[in-house]
Structure formats: C-alpha cells, structure tokens
C-alpha cells in the first residue's frame, strides 16, 4: 500500500518530480525545460489558469500510484511490446503492425485489444525504458509542450508512446481509448486497490501521420475512477490528413494539452465533444497551404469547462476555421478562448472563428475571448461571438407540440451544439 500517495496536481507540480525510469540525459532536459516554463508561467497572469475549472482540477485530491505500479504495468506490457520491432522514430515502416481499430491508452502506453495481424498499418512503439530514440525525438518536440498540464505530464510519465501511421493506400481509422476491454490487457486498471480519490492517469502520446497518409482517429477518455493529465503531440506530415475526434465520457476530469504540427499541404479536422469537467488546450502550428478546422460541441449540464484553441499560421495561403457552440446549464461556466495568429510571411491566410453560447438557465455563464493577432496584409480573418438565452418563442413552440419546458429546452440546447 506504500505506493499510494494522496496528492493533487498542484502538489506534484511543486515537487519537481521527474520519472525515475527515463533516460538520464532526457530527464535532465525535461526537468530544465519544465523549470524554465514554470518560471515564466508562474510570473504571468495568464487566462489559461484563471478559470475555476482549472483551479478545481488542479487542486483536486487524487491518488498518485507513482512508478512502482507502473512497473507492473510495463512488465505486462513488455511481453506484448517485445514482439514489436523497434526502428528509427518516424522513419521505420516495417515491424509488427495492426489491423485493428481499437487501441487503448493507459498510463503511458498505447496497446491493442485485438489480435495482431500481418497488415502493415500502424507501428506502435513504446520506448522509454529501452531506448533513447523516442526520448530524443520527444526532446526535440519538447519546446511545443507549453502548458502546466503538458509539462507535468511530461515529468510524471516514464515512457513516451509513439504511434506512427504510414499507409498510403488506406484511410486509417482507429480509436485511442482509455477503456480496457479485455481482461488480459495490461493496464493500470488492473490495480488491486480501490482508492477513495481518483487515480491520476498521465502520459505523453506522439502520433505521427506520415506523408500523404490519411488518418481518422478517435480519442476517448472513459474511466470513472480516473483524472487524466496528458500531453498529446500530433505531427501531420506533408500532404497528410488528420481527422481527429475527441470525446470525453465519464471521468473524474480531463486536463490536457494537444499540440499539432501541420506541415505544408496538410489538412487537420478536429471535432471535440465537451461535456464538462475538462480543461483542454489545442495549439496548432500551421505551415503554408494548410487546411485547419477545429469544431467544438460543448454541453455543460453538471460541470464547467475551458477550451483554448490557438491556430498559428506560420506560412502563406493557410485556411482555418474555428467553431465552438456551447449550451450551458445551471450555474456552470463555459470558457472559450480562441486565438488566430498570422505571421508576417503568412500572406493569403483566410481564417474564420466563431463562438456561440446558449445560456439555458439564468445562472449559467459564458466567458468568450476571440483574439486575432495579425502581422501581415492581404489576409481575410474574421471572428464573432454571441451569448444568448433561449428565445421564449422557441420554447413555447415546442411546448405547443406537447413537450414540457425541460424537454423543450434540452432539445433546443442539443440542437444548438450540433456541429
């Protein structure tokens, strides 16, 4: 029982703890980078960390299982992962691959719930404790880990998980989920303890969609006993397409940072379904001739949430569209901060940003900040945000068809958040 530690993310952040299992040089780098970020962040009065939902999640009592339990997990995983052939990060195209479409992420690992096959579709590789290659690659991406939750996830995880998608001929469809489906899966879910506070599930996940490859990925967080704190990095190579659907089902909260690096001629479409109790930052770096679509459907019945979206156009002729529609109940607060940055050389950028909030109940609140940071000419950028109540006329129309007020409001709210 000595492995259980009652703590909070805030306490873990203060402890400057870095996993014992990482390669020394990388650990040092992670620590140094984290320290420098930490100083900057603590000095700044950022919108990022001022919302109540962030404070709630950051100071929530959690159970940290530490590294000992993770070792057990890794031992189990190793049997499976040993069968995976290692190669150079982002370059290997051989190895045992997956036919299946259901991959579980848990405590620093992707793994599959299906039989492995000979189809060459995905290479899943968990390095960390065996090779420095993944860490080296991760280190090179570390500058993109730029939020407190992202840095904390980086410090607490003992491995970096890399999913390399490189099939030219298929649209690769897969699900990354925190659910464990089969009993023989290696997972932190198999713990023999039943702590009162939610268990911290933290990890770093790198997904690379290689040149001219299409990937259709679904991320699902679902574990009623866990609070998730993750760092995601998606690298979308030249001409590649990423369709990413992000869904949170029942959890004790999700606080994470997503970084997407979009190479020229690539397309990224993100669809987020937010049902509250979450703080998520989506940060996209887009080079020239890219297409970026970020849509959010936010339904806050029992919890508040915060969504940050930052699309940074670094090259010319990029198109981006950001749309978040929220329906907010009770006294919950929906935070949306959207930012579009256009660099000097990003001539020809077209960008639209919209945030529509529907306050279902009188106590509900929406905080909406659209920000444009334009540093060049010959661009078309616009933004709009609206916050409104449900028109009485619409409620009465539905009532006159036989729906009670609660139902009528729910139908209108659900309609409002349709993407």
């Amino acid at each position: 029982m000595d492995i259980i530690e009652q703590t909070t993310l805030a306490d873990l952040w203060e402890q400057d703890r870095t996993s014992d299992y990482s390669i020394d040089s990388t650990r040092l780098l992670v620590q140094e980078t984290a320290d420098s970020f930490k100083k900057t962040f603590e000095a700044s009065d950022s919108d990022f960390y001022n919302s109540q939902i962030f404070k709630n999640l950051w100071s929530k009592k959690i159970t940290y299982l530490g590294n000992k339990e993770q070792v057990n997990t890794i031992d189990k995983l190793t049997n499976t992962l040993d069968r995976l052939q290692q190669g150079e990060l982002f370059e290997f195209d051989s190895g045992v691959s997956e036919q299946d479409t259901h991959i579980v992420f848990s405590n620093g690992s992707f793994h599959s719930d299906e039989k492995r096959s000979h189809f060459k579709k995905y290479n899943i590789w968990s390095g960390g404790w065996k090779s420095g290659t993944v860490w080296q690659a991760y280190s090179s991406l570390l500058e993109y880990v730029n939020t407190m939750p992202g840095i904390l996830a980086s410090r607490l995880s003992n491995s970096v998980e890399v999913l390399n998608i490189n099939d030219y001929n298929y649209i690769n469809r897969l699900t990354l989920t925190s659910e464990t489906v089969l009993s023989n899966e290696a997972s932190i879910n198999n713990y023999k303890i039943d702590p009162v506070d939610p268990i911290l599930d933290t990890g770093i996940y790198i997904v690379r969609i290689n040149r001219n490859t299409s990937a259709d990925i679904k991320e699902i967080h679902h574990d009623i006993k866990k609070l998730f704190c993750n760092q995601w990095i998606y690298v979308v190579d030249y001409g590649a397409t990423l369709k990413l659907s992000r869904e949170i089902l029942q959890t004790e909260g999700v606080i994470d940072n997503l970084k997407i690096i979009q190479y020229p001629n690539s397309t990224v479409e993100i669809e987020t379904r937010d049902r509250g109790n979450q703080w998520r930052n989506v940060d996209i770096l887009a080079y020239q001739d890219t297409e970026t679509i970020v849509n959010g459907s936010v339904l806050l019945k029992n919890y508040s949430s915060a969504n940050f979206v930052d699309v940074h156009h670094m090259g010319g002729n990029g198109n981006s569209s950001i749309k978040y529609n929220s329906a907010i109940y009770n006294t919950n607060v929906g935070n949306f901060i959207g930012k579009v940055q256009v660099d000097k050389k990003a001539v020809g950028t077209k960008s639209v940003m919209n945030n529509k909030n529907l306050l279902v109940d009188p106590g509900a609140k929406a905080v909406s900040k659209p920000i444009l940071n334009i540093n060049t000419k010959e661009i078309e950028c616009s933004h709009g945000c609206t916050t409104s109540k449900i028109p009485e006329e619409e409620i009465y129309y539905l009532e006159s068809l036989g729906l009670d007020k609660t139902n009528a409001k729910a139908i209108i709210a659900n309609g409002h958040i349709q993407l």
Binding site: P391, E393, Y397, L398, L401, G402, L403, I411, G415
Partner: protein
Amino acid sequence: MEFRNFKVTIDNKLIVKDFNYTLSDGTTLVIIGRNGCGKSTLAHAIMGRDDIDVEGKILLDKENILELETFERARKGLFVSWQTPPEIAGVTAFGLIRDVKKVSGKDMGAELTKYKQLLEEVELPSDWAQRQVNVGGSGGERKRAELVNLSSVNPDIAILDEIDTGLDTNGLKMVSEIINKRRENGKVNLVITHNKNLLEHLDFDGGFVFQNQLLLDITSQEVKNILEHGYN
C-alpha cells in the same frame, strides 16, 4: 370543448369578452376579423401562451384546460398552427416529431416512412425530414411544414392560424382537403383566415367574426359574404 365566460386580454388590452360556446365533434368553423383584432392572440390564449391573460373556463372532458400548462393542453389534443413558425437551429424536422411522439428504436423506420408520405402530401421534398426546423424555409414551406406537424400529431382540436398565407392555388386546395378529412374523422378545426379562395374547397359549418371584443356566431354564408364584401 366548451367555452364559459371566456375573456382574453394582452398588455391590458381587451381582446375577447364573454365568449360562451360549445364546439361539437366533426366541425370546422372559420374565424374572421379585421387586422389586429386579436385572432392570433385568441388562438394562443387557448393554447396557453404565458404573456396572455385569460379568465373564465374552457372545459375539455370536464377539465378546465386554462389551469393546465401549454404542453398539457397539447397532450389533451389541442394544436395551434403558427402564422410565423420559428426556426429551431440544429434540430431536424423529423427529429422534432420523433421527440414529440416519443418514437424510438424499432418504430423509427415506420414513423419516418409515414412522415415522408405526409411531406409528399403537402408537396415538400423528402429531405425536409432531415432539414433543421424551418431554417431557411420560405413562408409557404413553413406553412406546409405546419400541416405536416398537424397530420403527424393528429390532434382532436386544431386552431389553424392563417395556414393559407403564402400558399398557391394548389396549396389552398391541399389545405382544404386535409381539413375536410379531419372533419370527416370527427375532429374539430378552427380556421383563422382572410382568404375567401380557401373557402371554395373547404367544408365548414359556420364561423365567428370579431366585433367590439365579441366573437359573434355567424353562418357559413355570412362568413363568405364578409370576406367577399368587407367588414362594413
């Protein structure tokens, strides 16, 4: 349905006073009156809109429906077609009726087929089912959609508020046929209109004219005469 000393006011303005009448099953009555006299207000007073004050009683199955919420009146078989039905973004036309009728699971397919038949009857395209409620619809299309709701819900008592406006000649005939069929099936229709052309195909049993806050009971011929020659 029986009106007893029914009185309607809105924003302290008297619309109807001392209305006493008993509606019989299988009747269609036409309600006429000059612009602004309160025909729509009357319709929504019966349906229970919050901002309209009412007095007296409307008895339906021995229950005073004025004491019921709007949705409860609807569930007891009351229906109002709107003169300008609102748009409900993100909610599909069929999705709404599915929720109203609480259709789920295996009954969904049959209900959709039925719904599409109704769309065909009122000459709306079958993809209307998947369109957002009234969003982008023309005046005529919205009226046709109201008729689809009417036929889907199939209420005992329907108040149709200028259901004919925005409809072409074929549309008027189609509306009349739907109302006539309801009448044959023992349903009650209160038809608010200014349009004498609608009456060409409509089988009706008389009507009411608004005069000095009174609803005067008039014959079918009187309805036609007034619409033909004016209220003077």
